[in-house]
Symmetry: C2
Subunit: 259 residues, 2 copies
């Protein structure tokens, strides 16, 4: 079973092309990360933007320009081959989807690993809080909200959020648990009233709609897709990202990020 394997083994399976799917169910207890690759000349501005928007954009690691290895979070990984699916953007437009970006990589490239809420899902599940997108075997629904972000240079916009429908009791417990993990988005940013944050609950912008049962609250967490959307909307000349739900699996333990 893939979900019993280590991050290293799963990265190898992905690199070989043996797995390309959603990573929600994999590498229990390890930090999963969103990927943004930009050219060096925008790196400082982008990192500053993430720094002042820590809820959706908690930065786990920034690679040295030209170095495809995340030396701290997965020293034997290669971010050019170890994600299941990539998206390449030029001037804010998607130009290619692929499973290997070696052809695009050069000395100018900087990779940003940004904490993903998939990282805390194992902790929620160990607290017996069921996750609908896991039950329904799809990708967590993600929405663009009207929650304004702090602007830095060309980077500005609104927050994207992931949504999990929970009973009130599970929502309370999930708030307690996730508050302890700010590096993977921490506590929810909203619950209960999608219209208050400018969302049509039935129309996720990424991922898949999941069933919200009678008596459940939709609970929204900051999402690491946010900085991708912001960079795309700002029309940056060149950017590579992961595809929704196909995260980078680090070797880091979520427990080491608990406060």
């Amino acid at each position: 079973m893939l979900n019993e394997k280590s991050p290293k083994e799963i990265r190898e399976a992905i690199r070989k092309g043996d797995y390309r799917g959603d990573t929600a169910n994999l590498a229990p207890g390890r930090v999963q990360a969103n990927l943004v690759i930009l050219k060096k000349d925008l790196a400082l501005e982008f990192l500053s933007f993430c720094t002042v928007n820590p809820t959706p954009c908690p930065v786990i690691e920034v690679t040295t320009p030209g170095d495809p290895v995340p030396r701290i979070s997965a020293p034997d990984a290669d971010i050019r081959t170890d994600l299941g699916h990539y998206r390449v953007f030029r001037h804010g437009k998607l130009v290619e989807e692929c499973s290997d970006i070696k052809g695009y990589w050069n000395e100018d490239m900087v990779a940003f690993l940004i904490g993903c809420s998939y990282s805390f899902e194992w902790i929620l599940r160990s607290a017996e809080i069921p996750l609908r997108h896991v039950e329904e075997d799809c990708t967590v629904p993600v929405y663009k909200t009207n929650i304004k972000l702090n602007q830095v240079g060309i980077f500005k916009g609104t927050m994207a959020v992931s949504m999990r429908p929970l009973t009130p009791k599970d929502a309370i417990r999930a708030i307690q648990i996730t508050s302890r993990y700010p590096m993977v988005h921490g506590a929810p940013v909203h619950m209960g009233f999608p219209d208050q944050i400018g969302i049509d609950i039935n129309k996720p912008d990424f991922g898949n709609m999941v069933t919200i049962k009678e008596g459940e609250l939709p609970v929204f967490w900051g999402c690491g897709v946010t900085p991708q959307i912001v960079a795309m909307d700002s029309g940056v000349e060149f950017m590579i990202t992961h595809s929704a739900g196909r995260m980078f699996l680090t070797d880091l333990y979520v427990k080491d990020f608990g406060i």
Copy 2:
């Protein structure tokens, strides 16, 4: 202003009859307590009941039989005179309401001080979370729910809860904050769907109804009135309690109970 006075000064004002009102707005940062007085022969069973139902019944102190002084939480207080209003029950029926219970006190009496959610309200307000019952100058609404309690001997029943309407953002923050104070009820037990816990939101059993604005969630915390109701319903031969919202002000600091 009474709300700038120490617990000791406020207890003196109450003792003299200068104040008999709700204590929600008083003694910032101090622990406020519900009062239950029973005869010694039921004390162990009642305390055991509280012990296995810690969310609604966190016991702050139990007085020595016959001693009207809470030696730990307010060593110069007298629980027979220092609450604004008392209710006396015989066989589960209210027989008198008064502001001094010296005439009822004897060597057989044991007083239980049980944590009150008024204790964390100052912390919520210092986090700029507005409280509707304070804004509307009334007593927090309290409801009997269908949430079953653990039974011990004659003591059994369901949980009472206090309700505060909050925006989703404030509700998330309030859950984070109150989770740190289990001795004054800790995190909420429910939010959002009153019918799930058997409540008609417009009909509080104690206190006053407050306005719930569009886009607010009703958030419910375990309430220290619970053990009174349970003792009343079990028809105990003799019991004295405080009246809703007229709590006992201890000298203890809420911050010392933070986890």
